[in-house]
């Protein structure tokens, strides 16, 4: 039962991504259990974001396939994949800068709308109900990430750390089953990072999520990820629990500058 493929929220099967002559990712395999908090780590340029772009439909892999809850999603567009339950954040924050904080979250809800454009223009009951539900929901999400006091600010006016949390709230608004976080702690100080990791754990339990998280600093994820994959030069060099990874020769080499030597 437990090794039935449908138990996995996310499966990557021998994914390859070729940019011209550069193999950004090759033969990438991954199995993430439902409800897991899974890490993808590796030095800069290892191909982590490329994996995210493939899983979220931004890139079409040159080889292999992606399955979400047993359903093949390879080659679907990002919006379709979002509809099917994958939401993500971006390494270089991509908020809707001129929208308010609240509106950013509301855009996340848009994908789950049922009211048609006509209903919206005429402000018919179903649309009004949906809009007030969205508003409730969005306000709740902002409270969850601690941004309710800045709900009516322009997103671009927020400090960096809050922008990162807003991205998470916006992603949650799409009601995802799997949440992809691309270096969520980048640029944060240790205290902020600590709070963020707590938020990630809370969010997973509250919304019944599977979380797939990228980080290039190993320390950050060691405490919260149950399993992780280590990527270097587009290749998987290790897979396992944090303690297994910590003692892995190849990983130590890649991280202690061994990688730099191996880089020809």
């Amino acid at each position: 039962m437990s090794n039935s493929k449908n138990d996995f929220a996310l499966v990557c099967e021998s994914i390859g991504m070729q940019f011209g002559g550069l193999a950004a990712v090759s033969n990438f395999n991954l199995q993430v259990h439902q409800g897991a908090l899974y890490g993808l780590i590796g030095p800069n340029g290892a191909g982590k974001t490329t994996v995210f772009n493939i899983v979220s439909g931004v890139l079409r892999p040159t080889a292999g396939s992606v399955r979400l809850f047993g359903v093949d999603t390879t080659g679907l567009g990002p919006d379709e994949i979002a509809r099917r339950g994958i939401a993500r954040t971006f390494q270089n924050i991509r908020l809707f800068r001129n929208l308010t904080v609240l509106e950013n979250v509301l855009v996340g809800h848009h994908v789950r709308r049922k009211a048609t454009l006509g209903e919206a223009l005429l402000s018919l009951p179903r649309y009004r109900k949906e809009e007030s539900d969205m508003m409730c929901n969005a306000t709740g999400l902002l409270q969850d990430v601690g941004l309710d006091h800045v709900a009516n600010y322009r997103a671009s006016a927020l400090p960096y750390g809050q922008q990162r949390r807003l991205e998470i709230a916006r992603a949650l608004a799409t009601k995802p089953k799997v949440l992809l976080l691309d270096e969520p702690a980048a640029g944060m100080n240790p205290a902020e990072t600590e709070r963020l990791m707590q938020l990630i754990l809370d969010v997973r339990d509250r919304f019944n999520l599977t979380i797939f998280l990228i980080e290039h600093e190993m320390k950050v994820v060691m405490n919260i990820c149950e399993r992780m994959t280590v990527l270097d030069h587009g290749q998987i060099i290790a897979e396992g629990t944090p303690s297994e990874i910590q003692s892995n020769e190849k990983v130590i080499k890649a991280y202690l500058g061994g990688g730099a030597i191996a880089r020809h």
Binding site: S56, D79, R94
Partner: protein, 358 residues
Amino acid sequence: MIGNRSNEFVRKAGPICVSLLVFYLFLFWAETGWDAYKVRILNLSAIYIGITLGLNLCNGFTGQFSLGIAGFMAVGAYTTALLTMSPATKSAVFFIDPLIWPLNSIQWGFLPALLMAALVSGFVGLLIGAPAIRFRDDYLGITTLGFAEIIRVIFTNTRTITNGALGLKGIPPHTNLYWSWSFALICVFVMIRLTNSSYGRALRAIRDDEIAAEAMGVNLFYHKCLSFVISAMMAGVGGGLLGSLITTIDPNMFRFPLTFTVLMMAVLGGLGSITGSVIAATLVTVAMEVLRVLEEPRVILGIFLPGIPGMRMVVFSVALMLVILFYPKGFMGDRELGLKSIRAFAARFRRTFLHKQV
């Protein structure tokens, strides 16, 4: 409960109904009492408000830099004209190549003709938009500009439908202040409703970051098409009203300068601001007429000054540059002028003023 609800309805809708009533009474007064020249300017203002809002939806709110508005205006103007002209006028106007059946034998009322203009220009908008919106920024601008030119060239050459370069004359002058301002008000209403709805937020999200919008599940193709088509429909109806106002149209009216004029109105008012478009469209329309004196020969202080055709546009270009210099985002930016913002402005004004006094 129900009582509460209807009370709330009255509280919200009451002031709107009253101001609409007052506004239409004003239009009645203007229509019956003002001289034709002023009425014409008022008509033009309303028509340009609608068209500018349409352009602002696409170029401002959705961030799709389209330059095809004159083409859609042409489609709407010709549709309306061909549907409202009487068969007798048509056979007189199409004296070289007769108009094809069934257009030569029908005459519709103004409202159905305008609705048809909306449908046809919306459809043409979809035909052009669907392939064009795959491009971004300047490329989209160039593509849509090209399409608008193609429409004009087609209209110049399909003589059995459009009478070619000779254009159409004797279009029934249905347009009056009620028609034109109802159009403007409907456009304002649609814009307010749309841009404040979930769909409007999605459009603004696309403007700010396409990649993020798509990752949040916003279907880029659908939403861009949506804004493109609505924009084309507004331009089409506006074109129809314009044709019926000035009663003659020909393909050369719908060259790029027309698009530029509307674009200028939207930019001056602020891309992404409804009130900005309304203000700027009105100001520019009035100024265009007032500045007509620059193009007419006249004698000032005994010196004869020949009129310089196109001088108005020179003045406008300079004005546009100045505005962009001092208000890089237009008068309103992407904000709206409302009671709230006026109050905020007053408060800020008072604060700085008092501060200086102390």
